[in-house]
Symmetry: C2
Subunit: 208 residues, 2 copies
């Protein structure tokens, strides 16, 4: 299946600013992207990156500097159905999780993200279009119903966890893709178990 | 299958103090407990509450005022295997999620929680014992290997989301059990979509 992977190549992961500087945030975004692309390939699918600016990565790249919703909708409109849209900031994603997503066999399959977003979906209905603004999970369910498309929701923590805030990096260190977790470890990130809840620590001694 | 549901009847949900007073936190914990118990029954299992103090609820209650780990281990030791342990603060849990947990068919099945915890597990090995301190997900995997038990990990957002912090209530309002979400709505909680990310609001006008 063709898998569209939208990627913000311009100002990725701005909410990680408390723990990563701008250069690091760009590098981290590309490490996450590469991991997602490799997992999509390992699952037997064909990833294609839809980026806001040119980016070097091991997959074909289409540059579209519009916002996410119109860019993805144009990509869906010209794709062969079914087509999947999988976000680039899902470092917990595995082949098994993608198999579950793709195997749901509905006209529209949605994997919700934390905070009401949509982290991955499979579209197999010619009229369905996305709208990533706001609580997109509920919006996508409503839109699917409006065009008569059966909806399936995938219950997966690995698809639900996108990287927004520094707290999300705890999950990456615990359950994430080896390369992405290693990238964080090499930059001094560790888990602090001393508090009531595990938290993120960074040893800044190597930081410029 | 017998399902042990540990319940802190003494000081539940302390980290919700910024948004719920002590009386409300106790009431909210009991609403979540009742929802989990009903879902366990709907899934065809027999729930039994293991509480730190007496609590009124629609299931048999054993009171054990020790900490979680020894109390659960004694309950496992006297149970007929396989036995499940499902936390009481999982308001996203559904029959489907429990079916996935119980259907994994391993000697030890673990559903990790956010932050490295263990939100649900199924034990079908006579030597396996729990240790909920710290990063219990990794500890439980290690302990299972040490007693030669095959381990399966369940990938479920509905089992991963336990209620710790106010931010978790966003997920309850979006995806949670109807009764638990309604309880929050009746107390003025709504979702605020105006920021970069959806957040929790509370209308305090009815608050004592």
């Amino acid at each position: 299946m063709d898998v569209i992977v939208p990627f913000d190549a311009t100002t990725p992961n701005t909410r990680l600013a408390p723990v990563l500087d701008q250069h690091e945030r760009g590098a981290f975004a590309r490490v996450m992207l590469a991991a997602v692309l490799e997992t999509v390939e390992d699952a037997g699918h064909d990833p294609a990156v839809l980026a806001t600016a040119p980016v070097e990565c091991p997959a074909p790249v289409t540059v579209d500097d519009r916002s996410l919703t119109p860019a993805v909708n144009d990509a869906i409109a010209t794709a062969t159905l079914p087509v999947a849209v999988v976000m680039a900031d899902l470092p917990l994603v595995t082949v098994d999780a993608l198999d579950t997503l793709v195997g749901a066999d509905a006209a529209v399959t949605i994997a919700p993200g934390t905070g009401g977003g949509t982290n991955a979906l499979v579209v197999d209905h010619p009229e369905f279009r996305v709208d990533y603004h706001g609580l997109s999970y509920e919006d996508h369910r409503r839109r699917a119903r409006e065009c008569g498309a059966e909806v399936s929701t995938v219950d997966s923590f690995r698809l639900a966890l996108d990287v927004d805030d520094p707290a999300d990096l705890v999950e990456v260190l615990l359950h994430g893709d080896e390369r992405v977790a290693s990238w964080l470890c090499e930059r001094g990130f560790t888990l602090d178990e001393t508090g009531q809840r595990v938290s993120l620590e960074r040893d800044d001694s190597d930081r410029a």
